[in-house]
């Protein structure tokens, strides 16, 4: 048999293992979904070996689709990790044979705690199946690996059933695009960090600015109006002289009786950190992390202010749409 034929055989066996589930998924699956939807706690996945890896993946999928989930290693469970399980939780155990001794050992304890146990197994007559509240058949017709050296089709089937569970739960929770974004802030982060600073900075009237010599009252008004927690202090020619952040205001309030009559020049941070508009967002983020700050002022070679960039602009705000220049920034802060 050629390499390609062998590969096709394996893929066919794996595909059949999933197709086989479509005809066996039944009321117990619906019961599992309703149990999870009705639970106040989390969904705790557990499994040993390859099934443990599948359990981890299902747990991750549940988390990213709106169902709070944890992975519990069965061997660690009896050494204390069982403490993470409460009576409000639902445990999903994965064991192809239904004979995994490490899980068998913790099943009575899980039931004592009061957690519901859902089992994914091909061993419908196994001791684990008997000890579980809900049994979901993920049995396969054959394994793809010679001698059954490694579980192949059976782990594929369990994984697919886990995906089915996550997606059905997602649908029933009315999980939407905004929820997904909230759980996947890292999804487009890479794209954002490759942008130039000029593409993410605030510009023109969106940059909070007060003139040097103004009273602090004016700075507070500007901070409130522009809503990024700071205002720049500029000279009459637009060059940068300093910055007043929320932090500067708090520090001034704690050390002075009345700050309202003070000039901005008295409480501002001189020489704020700056960046060039052609630097990347990643560089801007690095500077912020290095200096433990949330704003960078964008200046030209003569220190004239061109814009300001906030940490949120780098990590992404709700409704942030990469575009160009101030238009995108305008949307981000409108």
């Amino acid at each position: 048999m050629t390499i390609i034929e062998q590969a096709k055989n394996v893929l066919t066996i794996e595909a059949q293992s999933i197709l086989g589930l479509t005809e066996r998924v039944g009321p117990e699956f619906a019961e599992a979904v309703e149990t999870i939807l009705g639970a106040k706690g989390r969904v705790i996945l557990t499994g040993m070996g390859k099934s443990g890896l599948v359990a981890r993946k299902i747990s991750a999928t549940l988390n990213s689709t709106g169902t709070s989930s944890l992975f519990l290693h069965p061997a660690e469970a009896i050494h204390g990790d069982l403490g993470m399980v409460t009576s409000d939780d639902v445990v999903v155990a994965i064991s192809n044979s239904g004979h995994t001794s490490e899980i068998n050992r913790i099943l009575p304890m899980l039931k004592d705690i009061g957690a519901k146990v859902i089992l994914f197994t091909g061993g419908l007559d196994s001791p684990m199946a008997e000890a579980s509240h809900i049994v979901i058949d993920v049995g396969v017709e054959r394994e793809a690996c010679p001698l059954g050296l490694a579980p192949t089709a059976s782990t594929t089937a369990a994984l697919a059933m886990g995906d089915a569970l996550a997606v059905v739960l997602l649908n029933h929770r009315r999980f939407n695009k905004e929820d997904f974004k909230r759980f996947h802030p890292g999804g487009s982060l890479g794209e954002r960090l490759s942008l130039r600073v000029k593409e993410v900075m605030l510009t023109d009237e969106h940059v909070p600015t007060v003139r040097s010599g103004s009273r602090v009252d004016r700075a507070i008004e500007e901070i409130n109006a522009k809503g990024i927690g700071a205002t720049l202090i500029t000279g009459s020619d637009g060059t940068l002289e300093g910055i007043i952040s929320d932090g500067d205001l708090r520090r001034a309030l704690s050390s002075k009786d009345n700050i309202h009559h003070l000039k901005v020049d008295e409480i501002m941070t001189r020489s704020p950190k700056t960046i060039d508009e052609n630097d990347t967002s990643a560089e801007a983020l690095g500077l912020m992390e290095l200096n433990a700050i949330t704003h960078l002022v964008v200046v030209d070679e003569t220190r004239r202010v061109k814009g300001i960039v906030h940490l949120h602009d780098l990590l992404g705000r709700e409704g942030f749409i990469p575009n160009a220049g101030s238009n995108r920034a305008t949307r981000a802060h409108s």
Partner: protein
């Protein structure tokens, strides 16, 4: 008839031992079954391949069953026996005779009738046949789909496999509990698909090599397990996860790999020479009285020596 579930795992397909004059060798059968029964989840007697079932008449099959029932009564495991004869009527009579023998002996384990329907019946009307047989058989059937047997008929049928659509209907009958399958992986997929509505319907690999390559989760019908029951049991245990026994870490996978390589090599040798070489080596080991068989002359010389050498290396060869 109430649906009965077939066993999962290693179904040993023993040779039929004969005395030097061609009678059933009872003591030989006892020694053979004693060698394999603790490793097996089932025994398939009088099979058309290794069991020379095509040359066994009803009386001989009844004798085999009665002997096996006696031998295995203390630690009963499921027994399957081939009931097929040349015609529908003969097959039916054989089944009834075996049923009576089973009733007389009151075997505490499960009994299954294995039938190759295409040897005497076309695909058309098979479900009706088994519905009718159900009332007289008293025990569930396991179908036997072996196209090479059908191809060898003097009166060839249009089809040498049970049609998938027919199997789908058959799998819905309580009278039928499984299928022993020989053939391509593609057909195996189709058959599995046809039987999915009945999750506990067993589809056993009839070809040992199919099981070693891509193990079916129902199990395998194995003739080689007569020679090497331990390694076969180890492979089955590992592939099907039949019990909670701790795997022998850290070299468990290596053990399985070596056992698999051994069984493949063994199979390569005996698949050419067939039953005669198996009988010859079992005779040399003192398990059966003679290597008498009903299959005509076969040269077992080189195969015998190679097989013996291989079994010695793995500790499976030795006189009892």
């Amino acid at each position: 008839m109430q649906a009965v579930t077939g066993p999962r795992g290693l179904i040993v397909e023993p040779i039929t031992p004969y005395t030097k004059v061609g009678a059933i060798d009872g003591p030989g059968l006892k020694r053979l079954l004693g060698r394999v029964s603790s490793h097996a989840q089932g025994i398939f007697l009088a099979s058309p391949r290794a069991g020379e079932g095509r040359n066994l008449d009803t009386a001989q099959r009844v004798e085999l069953l009665e002997l096996a029932v006696q031998i295995l009564a203390q630690n009963p495991i499921p027994i399957m026996i081939w009931v097929t004869r040349d015609t529908e009527e003969e097959s039916r009579r054989t089944t009834i005779a075996l049923k009576k023998a089973a009733e007389r002996r009151r075997y505490p384990g499960d009994l299954f009738w294995v039938d190759t329907p295409l040897l005497y019946h076309s695909n058309r009307g098979l479900p009706g046949l088994y519905r009718a047989l159900g009332s007289v058989a008293g025990r569930p059937y396991i179908l036997h789909n072996d196209p090479t047997l059908i191809t060898g008929l003097s009166r060839p049928l249009k089809r040498n496999n049970i049609r998938t659509a027919v199997l789908k209907e058959l799998a819905g009958l309580d009278e039928i509990t499984g299928l022993i399958f020989y053939g391509s992986l593609e057909r195996a997929h189709n058959y599995h698909r046809a039987c999915r509505r009945r999750p506990k319907f067993r589809i056993y690999d009839g070809e040992e090599s199919s099981f070693l390559d891509h193990p079916s989760t129902s199990g395998v019908v194995s003739v080689g397990s007569v020679l090497a029951p331990g390694p076969w049991a180890k492979i089955i245990e590992s592939s099907l996860g039949l019990s909670a026994n701790k795997k022998e870490y850290p070299d468990h996978l290596q053990q399985i790999w070596e056992a698999g390589t051994y069984l493949r090599s063994m199979r390569d040798i005996y698949s050419g020479a067939g039953v005669p070489v198996l009988k010859e080596i079992l005779r040399e080991m003192g398990l059966i009285e003679s290597s008498y068989h009903t299959l005509g002359p076969v040269d077992t010389g080189k195969a015998l020596e190679r097989l013996k050498e291989l079994m010695m290396r793995f500790g499976d060869y030795g006189r009892v």
